[in-house]
């Protein structure tokens, strides 16, 4: 039971980092990124490829943290001239292109079989590393959220034209927040690769992006602590469905599909009845006395 708790906390921490990274893009800035699994995959594969080439872990980590922001800028370059709706299509497409490329370049990536990555032997160590990455990400996200930078990101979310008539270039903010968010997700990816000891294309499908989205929408877009809460609920739902499968005798593949369907239901219900999420974005109240 303790092992299970440690495993659950580890997984929740990794997915919380992903949820935070989507939150600063979507929740704060309004960027619809339907390919947030891409930087996660970049981090994982950076760890995997560098391990397969015999480099130490930190080379892989560094490679992931450098590749993700570069690819971020490459992906959003065409979005600069397009309306925000197109961000969804471009990011979705980019993530799929990467997954299919990985699948079809077995010499470097192991193809569908994936790559073996050195694993944390001690589950407690794995949990500690995941929690440390989460802590750093959370502090960064909080600093952004409460800063003048975060305020301008929110102005962009509300009205891009307003931001530009205030003298701000929207794409500069969108690019910088994407770079930060993608580095966060890449860090989660590197951590994840060393936790599972294995990376393969099947871990980085559109479904995974959809799971990150569900966590953000459920927890509260724009609220860091909210999306961590959302990620925890979604992951606990995920791991507990195994026990449900044992109690009520249903085939595992049906359970897996039902799990996804339940995430979809969560999304629909949240959009309809509580679009602000379980823990909504906080009002930033100015205390005149403090000045």
């Amino acid at each position: 039971m303790l092992d299970f708790a440690i495993y659950s906390i580890t997984i929740i921490a990794v997915w919380s980092v992903l949820a935070l990274s989507l939150n600063i893009q979507f929740g704060m800035t309004g960027l619809v990124n339907f390919g947030q699994i891409l930087p996660f995959a970049l981090g994982s594969y950076a760890a995997g490829i560098s391990a397969s080439l015999g480099y130490p872990w930190w080379i892989g980590a560094l490679a992931g943290l450098i590749a993700a922001p570069l690819i971020a800028l490459l992906v959003i370059m065409p979005a600069q001239r397009l309306a925000q709706d197109y961000w969804a299509l471009i990011t979705l497409g980019a993530a799929e292109i990467f997954r299919l490329t990985v699948l079809n370049a077995p010499a470097l990536t192991g193809g569908a079989d994936g790559l073996v990555v050195p694993r944390f032997i001690d589950p407690t160590l794995a949990m500690s590393v995941a929690l440390a990455v989460l802590a750093v990400t959370f502090l960064l996200a909080q600093r952004i959220s409460s800063s003048p930078y975060g305020r301008m990101l929110r102005v962009l979310r509300e009205d891009e034209i307003l931001a530009s008539t205030l003298g701000r270039s929207p794409i500069r903010y969108q690019a910088s927040v994407s770079v930060i968010a993608w580095m966060m997700a890449a860090a989660a990816g590197v951590t994840y690769a060393h936790i599972t000891g294995y990376v393969a294309p099947s871990s980085f499908t559109v479904t995974e992006t959809f799971i990150i989205w569900t966590a953000v929408i459920l927890g509260g877009p724009g609220r860091n602590i909210g999306v961590i809460f959302g990620a925890a609920i979604i992951q606990l739902l995920g791991v507990s469905s195994r026990f449900v499968a044992q109690w009520i005798d249903l085939p595992p593949d049906l359970i897996a599909n039902l799990r996804l369907a339940s995430f979809g239901l969560v999304l629909v219900l949240m959009f309809l009845y509580r679009p602000q999420g379980l823990i909504p974005e906080a009002k930033q109240v100015h205390d005149a006395e403090r000045n």
């Binding site: 600093r143 305020r151 034209i161 307003l162 530009s164 003298g167 929207p170």
Partner: protein, 253 residues
């Protein structure tokens, strides 16, 4: 001096502006009037960088202004409001005001993480100015309300306040009095007079002729994408062409 020279702009086959030239001097209020669809807002959008004109030049203080770049026009010192107020609705009134702060070092990621002291100092200064400005606009008690919860008139005042946070050399105001109650209109007239006395350039689109007569030093009348008259409010009132196309005759004459 802010000048737009020989501006033309077509949307498909429709010629919205046909060689419009206007000038606005510092310390004056310049009115733009004319029937709906005459090109007033389009002209303001060209000056503000929202539209790129097919031809023509824009200059501020003799320097050419960038075309089609609202952010750079704003950086050059031209602030504008819209007919329908643009605000960050889900931020408080106070947060909206702070967003008007120009060159905030706290919006640069490097400064944010490496120079927190500098960020805090600028934020404090901006907060003080925002507090003073909100008091001046009569919105002090609304500071912590969501901007989206304000009435239409208050929203227009707030957008003025956001602009003034950046201390612009020129203001482009699109119908600041439309849908605003008489008390708030008086307040806006007083504010415009103060801004003029501070030596700013003000260009104003307005259908409220009383306001035009009260505050404008010079008026340009547009019709069909062309300037059909220019002069003081009194001259414009007596101009036959303007009466025919826009002002109309009093019912009892």
């Amino acid at each position: 001096m802010l000048s737009a020279t020989d501006i033309t702009l077509s949307f498909g086959g429709f010629k919205a502006l046909r060689g419009v030239t206007i000038e606005a001097k510092p310390g004056t209020v310049t009115g733009l009037i004319g029937p709906n669809g005459s090109g007033k807002s389009t002209l303001l959008n060209v000056i503000g960088g929202v539209y790129v004109p097919d031809s023509g030049q824009l200059t501020l203080g003799g320097q050419p202004l960038p075309l089609g770049r609202p952010d750079r026009v704003a950086q050059a010192g031209i602030g504008r409001t819209f007919q329908v107020p643009r605000l960050a609705h889900r931020l408080t009134v106070f947060q909206n005001m702070l967003a008007g702060e120009r060159d905030h070092c706290g919006e640069r990621v490097a400064d944010l993480f490496l120079r927190p002291g500098k960020v805090k100092a600028q934020e404090r200064q901006a907060s003080e100015r925002a507090t003073a400005m909100l008091k001046r606009l009569g919105l002090g008690h609304k500071a912590n309300d969501y901007a989206g919860s304000l009435s239409g008139g208050q929203q227009k005042l707030l957008t003025m306040g956001m602009l003034l946070m950046s201390d612009p050399a020129a203001l482009l105001l699109d119908e600041p009095a439309a849908g605003v109650n008489p008390v708030l209109i008086e307040q806006q007239v007083a504010l415009l007079n103060t801004l003029r006395d501070e030596g700013r350039i003000i260009i104003l689109i307005e259908h409220n002729m009383e306001m035009i007569a009260d505050v404008c030093d010079r008026v340009f009348v547009l019709d069909g994408g062309q300037v059909i008259a220019e002069g003081t409010p009194a001259e414009i009132r007596g101009n036959e062409t303007v009466i025919r196309s826009y002002l109309g005759q009093p019912a009892n004459s």
